[in-house]
Symmetry: C2
Subunit: 207 residues, 2 copies
């Protein structure tokens, strides 16, 4: 399967965007590929090549209009309008994510949170009422939400993922340390903190 856009390019787009938002906050209106990428430890030609998959957005001899490029990247990524996200599993990690401010910078917002524990249901976390997992399907369908975050323990993650797919969720960010088995039209990403730390220790010990 030949892909138009390299996977690694896709991963860098939100990083570029966040950095451009920082430049904007610093009052920059114009920036060269070098200025944009040096603080990211990415070579400028990587940035230019990445952008080239989508069009030509700079001015030769000049650089990039910061505000314009922010708008363009938001459109490319698909976050020019706020994206609604649901979260399932309001444990320690889940509630930390609900309160995490980093999502809103990229125009993404956790709008509903669900749990199975009656002790948690009804409580408010950062303005979000925790709802019974049984209500998820109806809400997701009614609100046409297609992005979900899984924060339940590993042994419940597959079950929750199935429920999400049945409800119409099309993209899942999974924090449970388990690989999910899903239809191939569903997009999944994994945040695997223990593996990440393990890889780091490997490098420390071996390289």
């Amino acid at each position: 399967m030949k892909r138009y856009i390299p996977e690694d390019t896709i991963k860098r787009l939100p990083v570029y965007l966040r950095n451009l938002l920082n430049l904007k906050k610093e009052g920059k209106f114009l920036a060269s590929s070098k200025e944009i990428t040096v603080p990211l430890n990415i070579p400028p030609e990587q940035f230019r090549k990445d952008l080239s998959y989508f069009g030509q957005f700079g001015k030769r001899g000049v650089g990039y209009d910061v505000n314009n490029l922010i708008n363009i990247l938001e459109k490319i990524i698909g976050i020019d309008k706020e994206i609604k996200v649901i979260l399932v599993g309001v444990g320690r990690l889940g509630s930390a994510l609900i309160r995490y401010k980093g999502f809103s910078i990229l125009n993404m917002k956790i709008v509903y949170a669900f749990d199975i524990d009656p002790q948690k249901i009804g409580k408010i976390v950062d303005g979000i009422e925790i709802k019974n997992i049984g209500e998820m399907e109806e809400i997701v369908k009614k609100e046409k939400i297609d992005v979900g975050i899984i924060c339940v323990p590993a042994n419940n993650a597959q079950e929750i993922a199935n429920l999400m797919v049945n409800s119409g969720i099309k993209a899942i960010l999974n924090f449970a340390p388990v690989v999910l088995n899903l239809p191939k039209d569903i997009f999944v990403s994994y945040v695997d903190m223990a593996s990440e730390l393990g890889s780091l220790i490997f490098k420390l010990k071996n390289l």
Copy 2:
């Protein structure tokens, strides 16, 4: 710079290990590369190739001894003995990580946590006393700890990273959404949840 072990191979090692630990718990003593990798959505030849960078651990026509391979992978990764880790920034996310059970499966343990907020210093989270960041250097040096997790806000992350490096930390897992500028003998990994979610949304909207 030619590399012995591909970066992606390194990332998969802890994943293999965790899956083998699951197989062991299920009572499996022997497993083929196929049995090991199918639940991970990884082709069996990838697994065999990955292992081949380190040696020959299977029996042709038979498969792999689960317990033996667990020991081997733990040694390869460098977690055959428990690895001590420190954490800085005991906010919502930081305390969730202190309580996270997923690290111990891979023999890693957060043994000290630090913060700058006097309100937090002295409190106990999951058996770990939160200490003043000023005590970090001495403790890290005395205990010869070389892995640290950064969970502070983006604007403090570089400062904490510098402090870690001065204290002798050699590997950093950074949860702050900012790229760190560090000496090149320091290993860094990033867990960038918002970017991960952003990439997922890109795929959803574009692919």
